[in-house]
Symmetry: D2
Subunit: 338 residues, 4 copies
């Protein structure tokens, strides 16, 4: 199998490195209109071929799948052309700049029976896998909230605000561990201090079953925080991605409402329950290594990828709603769907 | 000077302890309708007098000031009666349950020329004093955002939601360090998982000068976090109240927009600036000791307290707006005033 | 039962507070040659009696037990006089300034059938109790090392070095959780930078069964660290007393020697085993409350205290050996005993 | 310039990567008797040449310098042969297995006028550079102690104990920042729980000027700690290498002896001085990149490397003394030299 990779900026070299390590991949063709980047990748991976023009790539090179690692604004164009040319497609997150584009690509890929993979990287980490396992086996009880913070001094994106860049990760994790929770409304607040896109944003997500999610994204924080709390009726879980080893902690803690109503005027309404905490071992395999493996396997086994166009579409829809809401200072956007 | 204290629950004994240590205070009269609490305080402080009925207190005891440490719903009633009886008044936060009540008390105290003190405790901590000093001398440059998180397994309040209990602290800090920033709108989102008041809430505050504040309050978090970030154009500050010693860290960090627009399509939009960090020494004096000192001094010197009815009113207004917003899933509430 | 407390410096008031809360204690007599301290304690606890002279205390007051909270140099004198006068005795740590004195007191108390309690406070904390429970049930497997660090900016003692002040705590914990381990040698290194007693010291303890302990004590550290590692063949435990909640962490981690000797020249000698970690819930009761309860119960039930003269003696012996060793730059001191 | 690298185990590939990036280096020849490793390095760096036999390397390849990254036991043999053949030599730490070998190599290199570089990596980190800068400008005042802890689940070495592996780093840092401090004695304690070399060891170093150093090394700790405290009379510094960003903290803290001797029996002997803390920005350049640059520059400019044979020799001497001491349970080994 031959694959082509377009976009060799920050993330592209990681894709080259990981796909190089897959034995089914015979040849990698790298495409970027920046000649310097092509030279650099050729120096490090002498066996790759390079081409600076996407049309040339399509016309003159033989390959089975296109990996798209360009700014989000160009995802649709490259993906559509590749699908039309009969190639499987991998798109970096966020999937597309609009839900309409996302739907187009899904339809096209289904019509052509080609694989459409969206790289929601966190789904391939040991930590998020472990969290899903814990939630799925009911250890937390009913989940009542999901709160995620992802802030640091970050790379501003040219064409999208901080939610498209950072919250996209939190949304993919939320979507993965709470796939059945129906969203009923989206609200977002934030501020653009430096240019016309927000560098700080707060996203509120209302669910049908009295569950709530909130995501805090910030490119202008002096400290780096990546922490997600999943609150359940039975237990609560904290995922701190800045920890080297103990990334997940499960707390056997919660609140118990008091039954004795009469007394309660002079007494506490709730009692705390604080028990043991444990931190499960988490697999250390690089996420991109598992993701690239999944993509190749899906092609070979002709099955739908774990992170596919529908997952990408759902997140793009949430981000679109957030964009509308943030322009109207947090106006709720009705949302209908899982 | 004699003082009376009504409400001897969780916080009341701290008030007794601190006012006992002030030499101008000759006598303390403790009032609570719970006889057990009166006995307990008498055991620990044998010199206090006790009375179980507020009317009896007003009628039969001679005192100069009333300290109110009861649930927020009764603040107005007790404060009004005391002012009418010619007593100075100290009210625990939050000031009152409504802005109308707050305004009434302010007017009454001014008409009677009595002191009205609202106990926004954090304003009397060494850490918040130091933060104000740093902001006031312009070390951070223009403040562009204020982000505060105050979460743990907390005591649910009977009559108010988590914002009135916890965000009240963050608002008092915000108000203290950014007194000139005009608020233009308030939005709040959250969820009530256990009873009819929200146990988790997120408060967004829009300011006139492209500044933004956000407060996260949660009574149902397995981990205790109390962290405030103040982001300035020049430097940024983090106040972590869970640290024993290094509570404040000032980061000489920020973002610099690139000027060279043409290049920027292929280059980063911003550069980080990361410099030294320092943690200033913070005075350790108990906040309540400074607050009780301030109250007594204001009476003796006939001056307006540092934390007075207007400060209390402003915060009650914000919380009222938040309550309305949260019922409409984050609908913006226009706000007019500093 | 009446008790007398001598020494009302830093720790004495805590003793008054805790013994006041015990219902069997009818009267507390406080003794200190500093009149200011007596006045202060009388102000806070009006029901105590005060006396400034120890001989007066013995001659004119009726009491059942003496609590000694004076500098270590005077422990022996006061304890001996009290035992001779037929009083039970509680001594703060470290027990005495010499093992000879310690043995004298043990013999005297046994002859007179009086209780001799040594206040090794940590033995009464929820954390150390939990550690003992974990070690006793074999969860760690054979313990191979005990490493304890207790450093901060500390109060220099007039008459003893930092080991007598700080390592004394670590030794009591070690002694409690590893009571059967026979010590074969003691070595200590350190430095006296400010006066004639060491402000930094390192204590090495050799055990019979290929187990080793090390204690680091420092009064001149800019950071406060209180961390004990107990390494077992099966699991390892870390006790971090600076943590507010998760004081104990048990790691299912260790090393496995490789069997395949031939290969091992080019391969790693060991493999790591890294599994889950958990942090057990720890009881929060104040240690001194449990210790004072134990003392009173031992008198009433006529039984040997959990922390008695023999425990005190063992630690004094180790500290004596350490003093000798440190004067000879770490020369090993043979040690014979559990 | 051509260079040869012998030993392509854990560290070797990093050497290949860094020397590849130096423009003066025209060719790299890799030598290892393990064919699998040679193939792997060839795959990743197709331009390197490979040879499995050291004698072949010396006989048939043309190169200017030999980089030795093999187990310590073979350092002397390879270095001697290379120097005799007129090659400059880089040796990984620890320099040699004995001080005699170290002296031989120094003499040989001087006779032949060839460079002898010992790779004490930490000397090339931004953090250690910054520490030296702070110490050198007198900011800490006289240094009174150096305390370093380097523990985790580590790779046991076949031929040396944990001090040769881990303390070697701390010694190189100590030596670099306190080059003038004369060592007068060495003592070491520890235990071998798994095979005949110690997996846990504690090293005490006595200096002439009432300064003291202590190093704690452990391959069997469940937690990873890498923390060095440098205590000065004026300020104190903590270097925590597990921090991602704030690796160095300088504390304006210390102790002040009280002058008023008479009072001091009832009063504290010392007062704490606790002031601000700051964390200086630290350069992020990879240490090995600076080290390889230094080696090449020394050759080109014909000057002595920053980390040369004499630095290596001093550390080997300390480790030899520690080995002797540890076999006699901490017996002091007299030491004469800086």
């Amino acid at each position: 199998m031959n694959i082509a990779i377009i976009g060799l900026g920050y993330w592209g070299p990681n894709l080259v490195r990981n796909f190089s390590a897959i034995k089914e991949v015979k040849k990698i063709i790298c495409c970027d209109n920046n000649q310097k980047r092509l030279s650099l990748i050729k120096l490090k991976y002498p066996s790759v071929e390079t081409v600076s023009d996407f049309d040339q790539l399509l016309k003159h090179y033989s390959f089975d799948a296109l990996i798209i690692s360009t700014p989000v604004g160009s995802h649709y164009k490259f993906a559509k052309a590749a699908l039309n040319a009969g190639k499987h497609v991998w798109v970096e997150k966020p999937f597309t700049g609009s839900s309409k584009n996302a739907e187009d690509l899904i339809n096209l890929s289904e019509k052509k029976n080609l694989k459409l993979f969206v790289d929601h990287t966190f789904i391939y980490t040991g930590a998020v896998r472990k969290i899903k396992e814990i939630v799925d086996k009911g250890e937390l009880g009913d989940v009542i909230y999901f709160d995620s913070v992802r802030i640091n001094l970050g790379l501003f994106q040219h064409d999208v605000n901080v939610l498209w860049d950072l919250a996209c990760h939190d949304l993919s994790i939320m979507n993965y561990i709470l796939p059945e929770n129906k969203i009923t409304g989206i609200a977002a607040n934030g501020i653009a201090n430096f240019y016309d896109h927000e560098n700080i944003a707060y996203l509120s997500i209302y669910f049908e079953n009295n569950c709530f999610a909130h995501i805090h994204s910030n490119w202008t924080s002096p400290v780096k925080i990546r922490r997600t709390i999943v609150g359940g009726k039975k237990k609560m879980l904290v995922f701190d991605d800045m920890e080297n080893v103990e990334k997940i902690r499960v707390y056997d803690s919660g609140v118990l409402m008091r039954k004795d109503e009469e007394e309660s005027i002079h007494e506490a309404l709730v009692q705390y329950r604080i028990g043991d905490m444990y931190s499960p071992k988490v697999a250390q395999t690089e996420a991109l290594s598992l993701a690239s493996r999944e993509f190749i396997d899906c092609i070979n086994e002709d099955r739908v990828p774990l992170t596919n166009g529908y997952d990408g579409l759902k997140i793009v829809k949430i981000l679109e709603a957030a964009d509308k809401s943030i322009k109207e200072r947090g106006k709720i956007m009705e949302f209908n769907g899982k």
